[in-house]
């Protein structure tokens, strides 16, 4: 990790807090699922927090992201609030999408989150189009396209990378390689090198330790600035790990992933524990200070869940609304 100066204390603590918020949100959502208090299923981002936070901390509010089925982390990192998120997960009217999207479709347009997407690779075109329109409209906003290693098998990604490179669009393709494409090891679904796929289009390609929030943030900040100046597109492969199964119900997963492997990642490569330890070693925050952040976030999550449970479901009249934009 790079040497620190006190000048960065605020941003370090913000990154720590944002990662803790994601973990807390996911642990809470997981408990809601396991206790059968949440409808549907959801996909945990735990373990990958440094990716979303490291990148989104390099973005402005007006910069845009597209997200995935494993999207809670991106939503929080881009400025999402617990209350509207838990309301959405529970199908309540005050959710980000009035309860009509659910976990896999949370969108928060005011913070530039164009939405999670339940089709693997489905948002790669949307992100690229967002970058095209930013340039057409004369802004210097950039777009980050989050997707997993599984999406590298989808054809549309190759099509849009080709066009992004031809047209030099301000988009960063952020591939979160968590080692598993649903229930299958990535090396069983991806031949050759993932980074070389982007390089084939003449796109500058990087690989970074996705468990190291400072390394991610440092790389992201440099690429974001360059993309703003028209030097994009860029590709980044973030080497990370999914602490849970593919979704909350994927509990017995010995057949594709060894318990020992999971334990090793959780004990040695946890992005929050490691960053917390580093903050303490550097004298930026004591263990007590970090624990107080954790406790605050935990209290926020508890309050938000309580709020969401007491919030209203959408009225039945809502079912037919928003199929079409009403003429103004």
């Amino acid at each position: 990790m790079p040497a620190t100066g006190k000048i960065n204390t605020e941003s370090y603590m913000r990154m720590y807090r944002q990662m803790v918020r994601i973990r807390e949100f996911e642990d809470t959502a997981n408990q809601l699922y396991l206790s059968a208090r949440m409808p549907g299923i959801t996909h945990m981002y735990s373990g990958q927090e440094a990716v979303a936070v490291g990148i989104c901390e390099a973005l402005r509010v007006t910069d845009r992201i597209t997200s995935t089925h494993r999207g809670h982390g991106h939503c929080i990192a881009k400025g999402g609030e617990f209350k509207a998120m838990f309301c959405e997960l529970l199908g309540k009217e005050e959710g980000y999408c009035r309860g009509k999207g659910g976990s896999m479709h949370i969108a928060d347009q005011l913070n530039g989150n164009l939405g999670a997407n339940a089709i693997v690779g489905g948002s790669t075109g949307i992100a690229t189009g967002s970058a095209l329109s930013a340039r057409m409209l004369g802004t210097d906003d950039i777009t980050v396209c989050f997707f997993g290693d599984g999406a590298t098998a989808q054809g549309i990604w190759y099509e849009v990378m080709n066009m992004a490179a031809l047209w030099k669009l301000p988009v960063i393709y952020a591939c979160e390689n968590n080692g598993y494409s649903e229930y299958t090891r990535t090396d069983e679904i991806a031949s050759g090198s993932i980074g070389a796929r982007a390089e084939a289009f003449g796109i500058e390609s990087h690989q970074v330790d996705g468990q190291d929030v400072l390394a991610v943030n440092d790389l992201a900040a440099r690429l974001v600035e360059r993309a703003r100046k028209g030097e994009g597109p860029f590709f980044v492969e973030l080497m990370t790990y999914r602490f849970h199964g593919h979704h909350v119900g994927d509990i017995n997963r010995d057949y594709y992933r060894a318990k020992s492997e999971e334990t090793a990642w959780m004990e040695q490569r946890d992005p929050i524990l490691n960053f917390g330890n580093w903050l303490s070693e550097q004298g930026i925050a004591s263990a007590e200070e970090l624990e107080s952040v954790n406790a605050e976030v935990r209290a926020d999550a508890e309050a938000a869940v309580e709020y969401a449970f007491s919030a209203r479901f959408p009225d039945a009249s809502e079912v037919g609304k928003h199929v079409y934009v009403e003429a103004s």
């Binding site: 999408c97 009509k100 075109g125 970058a131 057409m136 934009v325």
Partner: protein
């Protein structure tokens, strides 16, 4: 009034809307210098430049996805899909993304996207360049579907589509690109969801979409010679569908034939006929007849291809039989 071709009408609609609104742009395969294989967009790149008339690689899912993202973020793309058959390539971006974004986001995001494509057989283009696939997208909530039946409709409907905040798929009849029709010089829009009664009659209602409008009009001429008075209705858009005008007509004539160039099975004719059956049953004197493309892949041989599409003679024959009280079973 001047007459211009359907192709020129589309070109004018795009040019006028691009002049009116800087956020409108055109994207697709060979839309710039080539002006598309049908020369519909010729001249636009000279006026608007390559930033707003964008040639793409042959990658339909990719550029439709890009258009969806651009539409979500402040621009109004017009996407050119060279042949309607290529819609199968873009179904995820059109039906899972564009159609659902407004609803899934609880109304926060919108996708003001126009996807222009075409339909129509008998061009000897084979099974993958001849299909009429509009029913497929009309099935999906969140999409609007327009079927212009002349140069006049093509211009007015396309201009409305471009100003619409929803994703709209507009199918032009590729055999009609050179057909001329009176088109006003002054600006006009044709609203969605309003059928046009092209000809009033009292004996039978002929509902004809897109290419089948002319077939129905010719059939009506043939019938008039035999003393049968046919009413002809063009729905103009099938999503939304103006069923009131159709039902009003059928309640008057007591008979209906629905003609559309899509396949008959599970198609537009089935939808319209069933609405007539549900909502005008007690006014009917005969079964509602459906005529559509045969349920076969479109064959290449002219000897076979012409058999697959409804003809004025075929429509007129069905009309004569139901008006005379014969028991008619659809072909």
């Amino acid at each position: 009034m001047r007459s211009i071709s359907l192709s020129q009408a589309v070109n004018e609609a795009i040019a006028e809307e691009m002049r009116r609104d800087e956020s409108v742009f055109l994207i697709g395969e060979d839309v710039a210098e080539a002006g598309t294989p049908f020369k519909v967009t010729s001249g636009l790149v000279e006026e608007f430049g390559t930033d707003r008339v964008i040639d793409t690689p042959i990658a339909e899912p990719g550029f439709v996805g890009i258009a969806v993202g651009a539409a979500m973020t402040g621009t109004r793309p017009i996407v050119d899909i060279m042949f309607g058959d290529f819609l199968f390539l873009v179904m995820d971006q059109l039906c899972n993304q564009a159609a659902k974004t407004h609803y899934m986001s609880g109304g926060k995001l919108k996708v003001p996207l126009v996807l222009r494509t075409n339909l129509g057989a008998t061009r000897r283009a084979g099974a993958q360049h001849s299909q009429s696939l509009h029913a497929l997208v009309a099935h999906i909530p969140g999409l609007k579907v327009a079927l212009p039946s002349s140069a006049y409709e093509a211009k007015g409907l396309l201009k409305s589509a471009i100003r619409d905040d929803n994703p709209v798929v507009i199918f032009e009849d590729k055999l009609m690109y050179q057909d001329k029709a009176p088109v006003p010089e002054d600006e006009y829009l044709i609203p969605f969801g309003r059928s046009e009664v092209l000809r009033e009659g009292s004996d039978v209602t002929l509902v004809g979409t897109s290419s089948m409008r002319q077939v129905c009009e010719k059939a009506a001429d043939l019938l008039a010679g035999g003393g049968i008075d046919a009413e002809v209705i063009d729905p103009r858009t099938i999503a939304p569908l103006d069923e009131d005008t159709i039902l009003r007509s059928v309640r008057k004539t007591s008979r209906a034939i629905v003609v559309d160039e899509g396949h008959r099975n599970y198609g537009v004719t089935a939808e319209i006929a069933s609405r007539i059956g549900e909502k005008a049953f007690y006014h009917l004197d005969a079964p509602v007849i459906r005529l559509g493309a045969m349920d076969v892949p479109v064959p290449f041989s002219p000897a076979l291809e012409d058999l697959t599409v409804p003809t004025p003679e075929g429509v007129a024959e069905c009309a004569r039989r139901i008006v005379s009280g014969e028991h008619v079973h659809a072909p």
